[in-house]
């Protein structure tokens, strides 16, 4: 040490201003930026969409099991929606875990709580600062992923009009606005998962649990959404919010899921953060885990409570109004089919008068089940009677896979609707829009 060269008077006379939560946010963002996982996530969200776009373009294949997947070669706006759909299943919970799961538990891992709590900030400021930093980082990552997906789609595929979920063609400007709106709708559920990650991080004091916890919760919610026919539990699942943007892309947009998703997400955020704050506020930072019950008792109890909650929700998943019904499916599929039929004719170079459409009489029911007019499943069959001139009807049968979120995939008979691809005038070979098509309807 070289104390002789320094005057101590300078140290005792320096004016120190109370830093507040804003400084904590800056510090926490700086710490996050210094950590390898954050850098890896940042690199992935920026580069992965370009890699996906490049691979899809090179292979010529399409991710047909994802909404808008079959249009990735037709419009660059499909790619960000494919990425959004995939991120809603796994990406956002993983991102939330990686960004927020270590924010509190990292202080336990490095034994640095005492370093933080012996500065000029109160516990409240540190909690608020850490929470805001995690939220800011997560929002930045989501925005980066959205913009890089958009850029990748536009640069690699192009900015052609997008075929919506009711079979209508959405102009590029409208598509861009809807894509941005769709991604912004995913922000609140993502912040819900960030809050869960923070809560798990605080409660378990484990970085591993903080990172994996949101992923496990997300997976459990995905499973719960697959069982039961009721709307109540599905609405209360945080992961359902990632499907709320579907309604924007239909001919008659529905915004109910957006509002419900926002309310549910805010509920998760408020409850998670309130519980996390109580835990932090009441915690004794006694060092060496004094007073902290380690071992298997606490994790076993938590696991038992979580298991009981999942079981209860699984039982309750059939409560409430039925989300998937024959009436809703019939209304949606007839409109979508009619619009896509018009689009198909345009692709084939035939003149279609403005406002033209088909009169379609749909009949949908499930096969081989006790409840033939409700519930998700791949056993739906819809017969679309197309009313032609002189009231002649041409029935077309579609096998339909309907999911709990109200989206479906319909597959028609090639003998009637043509092959998987069609040759167009001027645009070469494109997917036959009627061969297999997707649609969505409001489940509420």
């Amino acid at each position: 040490m070289t104390s002789s060269s320094v005057s101590f008077d300078t140290f005792v006379e320096v004016e120190v201003k109370p830093p507040g939560a804003a400084q904590v946010v800056r510090v926490e963002l700086s710490k996050l930026a210094g950590q390898l996982p954050t850098r890896v996530v940042a690199a992935v969200v920026v580069l992965a969409p370009f890699a996906v776009a490049g691979v899809l373009k090179a292979q010529g294949a399409v991710p047909a099991d994802t909404l808008f997947g079959r249009w990735v070669h037709t419009s660059g706006f499909a790619l960000p929606l494919v990425v959004l759909g995939f991120a809603g299943s796994w990406g956002f919970p993983v991102l939330a875990g990686l960004v927020a799961g270590d924010v509190f538990a990292g202080e336990d891992r490095h034994d640095t709580w005492k370093l933080l709590l012996t500065r000029s900030c109160s516990r409240g400021e540190i909690f608020v600062g850490k929470t805001l930093a995690a939220a800011t980082c997560a929002v930045l990552m989501v925005c980066a992923l959205a913009l890089s997906s958009l850029a990748a789609g536009a640069l690699v595929i192009g900015t052609q009009p997008l075929v919506g979920l009711s079979g209508t063609l959405l102009p590029p400007g409208h598509s861009l606005a809807l894509v941005l709106l769709g991604w912004s709708i995913a922000l609140l559920p993502t912040l819900g998962f960030v809050s869960l990650a923070l809560l798990i991080s605080v409660a378990t004091r484990s970085s591993v649990m903080g990172v994996l916890g949101p992923v496990i919760v997300g997976a459990a919610m995905q499973l719960l959404s697959l069982v039961g026919k009721g709307e109540i539990v599905r609405t209360l699942l945080l992961s359902s919010g990632f499907d709320a943007w579907h309604g924007l892309f239909t001919a008659n947009p529905y915004y109910g899921p957006v509002g419900r998703s926002a309310a549910v997400s805010v509920g998760y955020i408020v409850v998670s953060l309130a519980v996390a704050w109580i835990v932090v506020r009441r915690r004794d930072f006694a060092g060496s885990d004094a007073g902290w019950r380690s071992g298997w008792v606490v994790p076993a109890r938590a696991l038992a409570v979580a298991g009981a909650a999942v079981a209860l929700l699984a039982v309750a998943s059939s409560w409430g109004p039925k989300s998937v019904t024959a009436g809703r499916l019939e209304a949606s599929i007839s409109t979508t089919f009619s619009n896509l039929a018009v689009y198909q004719q345009k692709l084939l170079g035939r003149r279609v008068p403005a406002g033209a459409g088909l009169d379609v009489l749909p009949t949908c029911k499930r096969r081989g089940v006790s409840t033939p007019y409700s519930g998700q499943g791949d056993d739906w069959h819809c017969t679309l009677d197309v009313v032609g001139r002189q009231a002649r009807q041409m029935p077309i049968g579609f096998d339909v896979n309907v999911r709990a979120n109200g989206c479906y995939t319909a597959e028609g008979p090639p003998s009637v609707i043509g092959p998987a691809t069609i040759r167009t005038r001027g645009r070469g070979v494109v997917p036959n829009p009627l061969f297999v098509f997707d649609g969505c309807f409001d489940t509420s």
Binding site: M1, T2, S3, S5, V6, F8, D9, T10, F11, V12, E13, V14, E15, V16, K17, P18, P19, Q23, V24, R26, V27, S30, K31, G34, Q35, L36, H110, D111, T112, W113, K114, L115, L116, L117, T118, R119, S120, C121, S122, R123, G124, R281, D284, F285, A286, G287, S288, A290, G291
Partner: protein, 300 residues
């Protein structure tokens, strides 16, 4: 402000263990106070209570004249560390201090380089703290504590892990800080270290304070010093000792004899040995009076 630290009736339990048991502690401004005690005496727990890292079951804490409100209040003017100093290992020493400076208010940011130089880490400022030794982290801990211009320093075994030169410098630094008006309360289990640095001392045992006051008062209450003496004829030396007043002698379990006497009587004993033809081969202080006192106070 009449007191820098005022703790009244502090009680802290961990399960069935009363780690701090009814502690009253007062430290005056600009005082340098040693907090002594064997391992498990409750020193670190007391410092954690003062920092507000843990909540007491009973009692109150006032730092720099301001009542500490549970664990939610700011620690304005108070700095230090408990147990060993810890930092973010994936960041450099300089980056760690810069972040801490932000948490202390913008005014402190400019002194990072100066403080790294002060604690002898100027050359290592760019290294990640994960590569630092315990001693280097202790030095960085002191720099982090000084960053915020504290008026009260609470340090938990600040010389732990330091080499002899670092220990000497740390002691000098603490004295200089106290001379500049900073109140220092530091814990140690080494009586000799406290003797070097402090004017007053608080000794803890099993969560309770068993002595609190100036070192001079402790010395006054201390027994006569005990020396170990090795002679050419220990049997003869023992016989001779019995003839001298104010001298207590017993066999040392390892080697030679243990003599308890004040300086004058010890001198007389050594001279008598020489006159009797008994050579003194070794003579050393076995235990200082303060150490003896410390062990007496802290033995169960």
């Amino acid at each position: 402000m009449s007191t820098a630290v005022e703790a009244l009736g502090l009680v802290k339990c961990f399960g069935a263990i009363r780690a701090v048991d009814g502690v009253d502690l007062t430290v005056r401004p600009a005082e340098i106070r040693g907090l002594l005690g064997p391992n498990g005496a409750g020193k670190t727990t007391l410092l954690r209570l003062l920092f507000g890292l843990i909540r007491p079951e009973r009692g109150s804490v006032s730092l720099l004249g301001r009542q500490q409100d549970g664990t939610d209040g700011r620690l304005d003017g108070v700095a230090g560390f408990v147990e060993d100093a810890r930092f973010y290992p994936y960041l450099s020493a300089r980056h760690n201090l810069e972040l801490l400076a932000r948490l202390d208010g913008l005014g402190a940011r400019g002194r990072v380089g100066e403080l790294l130089e002060l604690v002898g880490l100027a050359k290592d400022g760019g290294r990640k703290v994960g590569t630092f030794s315990t001693g280097m982290r202790q030095r960085l801990g002191l720099a982090a504590a000084l960053l915020r211009a504290p008026r009260l320093l609470l340090l938990d075994e600040p010389t732990a892990g330091l080499d002899p030169e670092g220990t000497r410098e740390m002691r000098r630094l603490l004295r200089e800080l106290a001379a500049s008006g900073v109140t220092v309360l530091f814990s140690s289990h080494d009586m000799a270290e406290v003797e070097h640095v402090c004017e007053t001392v608080t000794i803890m045992r099993a969560g309770q304070i068993v002595w609190d006051g100036p070192l001079t008062a402790l010395r006054a209450e201390a027994p006569v010093p005990e020396h170990r003496i090795v002679t050419s004829d220990d049997v003869r030396a023992a016989e001779l000792a019995r003839t001298l007043p104010g001298l207590r002698l017993e066999a040392d379990p390892e080697r030679g004899l243990r003599v308890s006497a004040d300086a004058e009587r010890l001198d007389a004993f050594v001279i008598a040995l020489g006159r009797a033809g008994v050579a003194v081969r070794e003579l050393e202080l076995a235990e200082s009076p303060l150490e003896t006192m410390f062990f007496r106070l802290t033995s169960q």
